[in-house]
Symmetry: C2
Subunit: 266 residues, 2 copies
């Protein structure tokens, strides 16, 4: 074991702090995660952990300590940090004493051809919404998400946290709207859009097991060019004053309808 | 017209800033809202606006200016603020130049007896989740929410913002778990809980038009004492690694199933 980091100006601590910045993450191709559950998910999903950061004093239970021991056996920098320094980099209210730097992974649009349900998001801006969508996509056993045009970074600290680790079991694809449109048309992939101006109640549409659910942006909804690739556009009924739902809620409602149709109760 | 506030140290500006603090809101029985849509909702829903704050330079369209003129006719302090001072108190990325201080309203548990669908939330902690639940409760035409035990403040700035103004058309009740349990038992109000340890798939339960959907806290789920008042506990199926959904998403999925059963497609 090497020594313990006790200074907040240690280069590794400074590096971690810079990982809040998207450009710095992109430059280094890594991101920061924190918490026993999320670090455990990254490890069990075989994402490449470059640095494991922990504070012995904060690790509360045997599970945490065993996780550190399991990860230690891999080719990973094991970095012990003083409790107060750990708290200074923590993004949690009650730090659990475990964090990691993880290599980003990227996937190709061709992964969609393997089938299953996918969610495509156009210009999603809110990291909490993106993380929450990831969590729901995993919950229904869907395969991944397609981020169209300029979206918030799925490796954003808030997005990773909201995903509760679901990020590590999903495929995330970045693509422009033009590439998306060309690809789905060429490969005849079924796209069902969701919009408050859709013409079919979401309960009436038929959802096959291989499809993309396409959601518009928080502010502007589905763009005209993306409308054009949808086989159908579903609408979630609104009975109150609100004319729209939160994006993550709307995605969840559609995903569970898709799930329900493909997994009838026995 | 009186003069324009040009200093960030003006007492009214300082007052607005203090409204970020729950204790200060409670003490003064008012809260801060911002944006044309939310201020418009407060006004049309007849909540008491004590102060209307605006910046002429930032008001972008006739709709905003007409709203200011309509509200001006009520008994309200009309306060013009310099553009830069407005930006200093703004909670939005692109301030629309319209904000207000609004009197809080409170409702009584007896409002539940009027019927309809209600959502009860136990110890909800995240203001974004609470606002998002409010938005969905309004979207399905439900009546309001019951906040059990110590919950995040529905008049929290982030909660109001996430609610998109739905807050103003709903009834919000604060109550302890003991009061809640006593009240629903005494009045024979049907309570259906949602929990990952529920024994009925949420698609199989029957939801009557008058009921309370009870959701547990983000961290701990439904408490044992609350379990005891539920006629049934539904479970949302999980097909991935995640063992739970975001609270606002889970509430939305259950609420739309309740809506669907009570509003069959003709």
């Amino acid at each position: 074991m090497s020594e313990i980091i006790t200074s907040t100006s240690n280069p590794k601590i400074k590096f971690v702090r810079k990982l809040h910045d998207r450009k710095f993450r992109d430059l280094n191709n890594v991101f920061y995660i924190e918490g026993v559950r999320i670090v455990g998910e990254a490890f069990s999903s075989k994402w490449k952990i470059t640095d494991l950061l922990y504070s012995s004093e904060l690790l509360k239970n045997d599970f945490s300590r065993e996780l550190v021991n399991s990860i230690r056996k891999q080719n990973v920098n094991l970095i012990e940090i003083d409790k107060d320094v750990f708290k200074s980099i923590s993004i949690k209210d009650g730090p659990q004493g475990l964090a990691a730097i993880v290599e980003k992974q990227s996937f190709s649009i061709s992964d969609i051809l393997a089938g299953g349900v996918w969610v495509a998001l156009d210009r999603i801006q809110d990291p909490g919404n993106l993380g929450t969508v990831l969590r729901t996509v995993d919950a229904v056993g869907a395969k991944g998400i397609v981020l169209i045009n300029h979206c918030v970074d799925p490796f954003d600290i808030s997005a990773v946290r909201s995903s509760m680790g679901a990020l590590f079991s999903l495929k995330i694809i970045h693509i422009t709207s033009k590439e998306f449109i060309d690809y789905v048309l060429k490969n005849q992939i079924l796209v069902i859009g969701s919009s408050d101006s859709g013409n079919i109640d979401f309960r009436l549409a038929s959802y096959p097991p291989n499809m993309i659910l396409l959601m518009g942006s928080e502010r502007e909804g589905l763009s005209e060019e993306l409308f054009s690739v949808c086989t159908s556009i579903v609408r979630i009924p609104m009975a109150g004053k609100s004319d729209s739902l939160n994006l993550a809620v709307a995605t969840g409602i559609c995903l569970y309808e898709i799930y329900n149709q493909n997994n009838p109760i026995k």
